[in-house]
Amino acid sequence: MATFKDFRNNVKPNWCPGCGDFSVQAAIQRAAANVGLEPDNLAVISGIGCSGRISGYIKSYGFHGIHGRSLPIAQGVKMANRDLTVIASGGDGDGFAIGMGHTIHAIRRNIDITYIVMDNQIYGLTKGQTSPRSATGFKTKSTPEGSIEQAVSPMELALSAGATFVAQSFSTDLKDLTAIIEAGLNHKGFSFINVFSPCVTYNKINTYDWFKEHLTKLNTIEGYDSSNKELAMQTLMQHDSLVTGIIYQDTSRPSYQELVPGYAEEPLTKADLTLDQAHFDKLVAEFM
């Protein structure tokens, strides 16, 4: 049995000291060990940006792709090998700006992978521009007078896109974050986890203290029921989406893989690449 230490490698992250992403890295390593994975049967597919480097900081198969495309790559990996556990990850720019189209469609497609967004509401690696998650009025190098756009609400979007697992966490709360990632890994279908992961260098508004002040834990709300979609949406709207915990989970809907007609139970990587001559002849005969 692997422990979380087996998911560590000797690469020193290039994140700033105090970056929220360190906790996300640790939580993924712990959750992977806790659900019984080995480094050989985990693939972490990441996008571009500070957080996108995470696939290089976890001892597992890792694919650091192109900006905004971690989800289609991750879905392709899972389709090729359904026995592999696949995590896609990246930042809010990656998932909600350049890659927003993929996010919505991955949610509604419901392939069995886990998507972890490190949401810092700013573009960090390009040194401080606005993000689709930046609040209206937020001043950055690209919005010197303050952002005049509305921030997206990924949790609300996910619910309306037909998500089967929607959760949110905060990077200082390692225990809670680990538990949520474990729940995501165990969910049969697309699990979407947004993690508030403060940028200590460029975001002076949404700091650790700010989140501590504003976040509400769903398990402190009396009567909250994560299987009730209507309640989930209502709670998100009441709290301006500043909640942590499993917001919504639908365990009844089968994952994409379970619905694909004819899809092999064995990973496609083990498929026979040759055909019987008779099979080929039958295919050709249709053109006669």
Partner: protein, 578 residues
Amino acid sequence: MINQLSWKVGGQQGEGIESTGEIFCIALNRLGYYLYGYRHFSSRIKGGHTNNKIRVSTKETRAISDDLDILVAFDQETIDVNYHEMHDGSIIIADAKFKPVKPDDTEASLYVVPFTEIATDLGTSLMKNMVAIGATCAILGMEISVFSEVVEEIFGRKGEEIVKKNMDAIAAGYDYMKDELGEQLGAMKLEEADGQKRLFMIGNDAIALGAIAGGCRFMAAYPITPASEIMEYLIKKLPVLGGTVIQTEDEIAAATMAIGANYGGVRALTASAGPGLSLKMEAIGLAGITETPIVIVDTQRGGPSTGLPTKQEQSDLMAMIYGTHGEIPKIVMAPSTVEEAFYDTAEAFNLAEEYQCPVIVLSDLQLSLGKQTVQPLDYSKVEIRRGKLVDYDIPDTEGHAYFKRYEVTADGVSPRVIPGMKNGVHHVTGVEHDETGKPSESPLNRKAQMDKRMRKIENIRFNTPVYKNVPHAESDLLIVGFNSTRGAIEEAIERLEADGIKVNHAQIRLIHPFPTDEVLPLVQTAKKVVVIENNATGQLANILKMNVGHVNKISSILKYDGNPFLPHEIHTQCKELF
């Protein structure tokens, strides 16, 4: 008796023009005739002129004919748009319903047949196409029974009565036309065909079938003309093999999902046309630097931007060779026949894994959509070769070090493991990286990795990089082309030879890396070289000049009006060179 014939059916889109041609062709193909079809259509579903021009011949043919012998018209526009292709002795058969008018300046004869009325009397006007087929039969002096098998197959599931009604419609069309023709019955009687069993398919069918034969078990694609038939075929056929197709949200997702699937260890495909390829370019660069195999089909159409979505062009060549920023190893192949499209697509999957790089199978609209007679496909010629894919147990190393996925080797190709393999853990990144995939900006490492990647395709092994027909040790003219121009070039060459000009022919099947060793001797032994291509800037001519020199010897014949080359155009323009 004639040994070839050109037949065209035209009308408004959505009127069943396509199925008329289809039934006519399948029946004749089964008799052993060679068919070659080209469809004129627009980017709309209902309305607008459409026609299907079909060449029927007793010998192999891969070109649209210069002229037209029989025109079946369901509207006046069909006559007005197409009569100029007709000659003395050509026959127009037109539906009485639209009161057809024969243009003054044609020597073709017009026969007015009440297609719609006859069909309606028999039950439904939908059968007017069948009446037209019957009328054609009379001109060809052909027994209508040759259609009974096809009609049975197509309408059988709707019941015997529908089958009978459709056969009755064919018979009624035949009988009406027989009386009209009088002594002209069987005016264009075709020589008997050889009765050999051959296929009748479009290039996209062959590409899709080639993918299956080549071990492809997953496809990610976005619908686009003229590539969609590839995904539509595979979604029907892959489930039997455990595989599937995902229609993605966009072209970028299609490319990156296919990259993910290939990285994951399955042979995966994506296919599109120019606009889609433009969007896939960054992903192609990712496959290049991460050394992930991927096969990408580009069915060229008129560009740029949306351009001419339903028209023939070959203007993606440079974009396919050089597209994506930065420099990567890439293989671009361009089959020139439907048969080659099958074998080359299957082989593309081998090359992608052997050289661990993107392989682009270039097609064009005429090749992808032109429905034609195809020689039997030989599955035993298809091999599966997976290159340096690790198929042994990887020993555990001290400290569980990362696997050297990007090990610098003599041939540049590194051992490849797929995720899930024990002790194979490594990192893959589009950032420049060291042998284990760890990001590195070291100048020495950069050079070593860049050289390693580019070295991979220096000595690529490809079975037939150039289709050659070189009867002359010294030629007056070397004609060079790629993709679907082959048929028109071949017919032009027959005529040029008859004019006393010695012509050699090279159709380039491996566009990149360019097969200079194969082509240079042909250029050296030619007095003149002409490159035939459907684009405005002579892209293949420029590639040729770059690789073989002889700049002053090489000229171009270009066509970029959306239509394929006709043999007479190539013949005439080549003659003008002398």
